[in-house]
């Protein structure tokens, strides 16, 4: 069925760990929060793609299964971007919101 994959999984695993420590370390570097956040999520995306391609053998899959991964990711991005102008807005903070809220402060 799938070709005898001789890719060295341990090497990929090592790279993943390296990327992990890079992103954890990045938090302590004196860059602006925006830059650090961008770097961290870039690293996370690279790790996700590596796992998908190597560990989940995506390269050997049919186009249908690859599209199964792309469709939800694209829909997720569209939904999140479409919601930004509605949720990420300044809200009332002068106490006129509901009194009947949870005991949580």
């Amino acid at each position: 069925m799938a070709s005898e994959s001789h890719t060295n999984y341990t090497a990929i695993w090592a790279v993943l760990l390296a990327l992990l420590f890079a992103s954890v370390g990045a938090v302590y570097l004196p860059f602006s929060p925006a830059l650090t956040t961008a770097f961290i999520f870039l690293v996370a995306t690279v790790k996700a793609v590596m796992i998908a391609v190597y560990f989940m053998h995506l390269r050997e899959e049919t186009q249908l299964i690859r599209s199964l991964l792309w469709a939800p990711v694209v829909l997720f991005i569209i939904m999140t971007l479409a919601l930004v102008p509605d949720i990420v807005v300044e809200r009332l903070s002068d106490g006129s919101a509901p009194e009947v809220s949870a005991p949580a402060h």
Partner: protein
């Protein structure tokens, strides 16, 4: 009833029932976690950085160790799948056992982390950040538990030499998915601004 009759549609996709089903399932799971992560990210953006002071209540070191554990478990389960390609049931069994063990270690770390946070007074109703923290890690944790159960069952099958490649591959795909979710959860919760 003629069992040997092999139709053109079935022959080239015979072993992919389990894989086809898992990928469809993972597509809907990506959307479910996507809905969660979208809600969390949007609220965090709306809070414009005010959550980072709350996130200080988290312990990134345990989480980093957890990420190492989960990445390693992804390695062991892909080795189990590799072993199954050579129909090496014994090695697959060893690797599956390691995966189950690492999964339990992950949950152990999580339990320790939860107890620390609750002892500091951070409960799901403390603040919406903590509500999201417990909701996200809780749901992910449940998926880890489900993965451990499946892998344990396959571990027993491998012990009796009855494990099939399709099932090992499907369990592997599911476990890698759970790992990918954590790969995104970790920076979102512990490292972001």
């Amino acid at each position: 009833m003629d069992v040997t009759h092999v139709s053109e549609g079935q022959a080239n996709r015979e072993t992919s029932y389990a894989k086809m089903a898992i990928w469809w399932f993972l597509a809907s799971e990506v959307m479910t976690f996507g809905g969660f992560l979208a809600a969390y990210m949007l609220y965090r953006m709306q809070a414009a950085g005010s959550w980072s002071v709350l996130a200080a209540g988290l312990n990134p070191w345990i989480a980093t160790a957890n990420t190492v554990v989960l990445l390693t478990s992804s390695l062991t389960i892909v080795k189990a799948h590799q072993a199954m390609q050579h129909d090496d049931q014994a090695r697959a069994r060893k690797m599956l056992g390691l995966t189950v063990l690492l999964g339990v270690v992950f949950l152990g770390f999580k339990a320790v982390e939860y107890s620390i946070e609750i002892s500091h007074g951070y409960t799901p109703v403390t603040h919406i950040f903590w509500s999201f923290y417990y909701a996200l890690t809780g749901l992910h944790g449940l998926h880890v538990v489900a993965g451990i159960v499946v892998n344990a069952v396959l571990f027993v099958h491998a012990g009796k030499g009855k494990l099939t490649l399709a099932r090992a591959e499907a369990a592997g795909l599911y476990w890698h998915f759970v790992d990918v979710v954590w790969v995104f959860l970790f920076p979102l919760l512990y490292l972001s601004y």
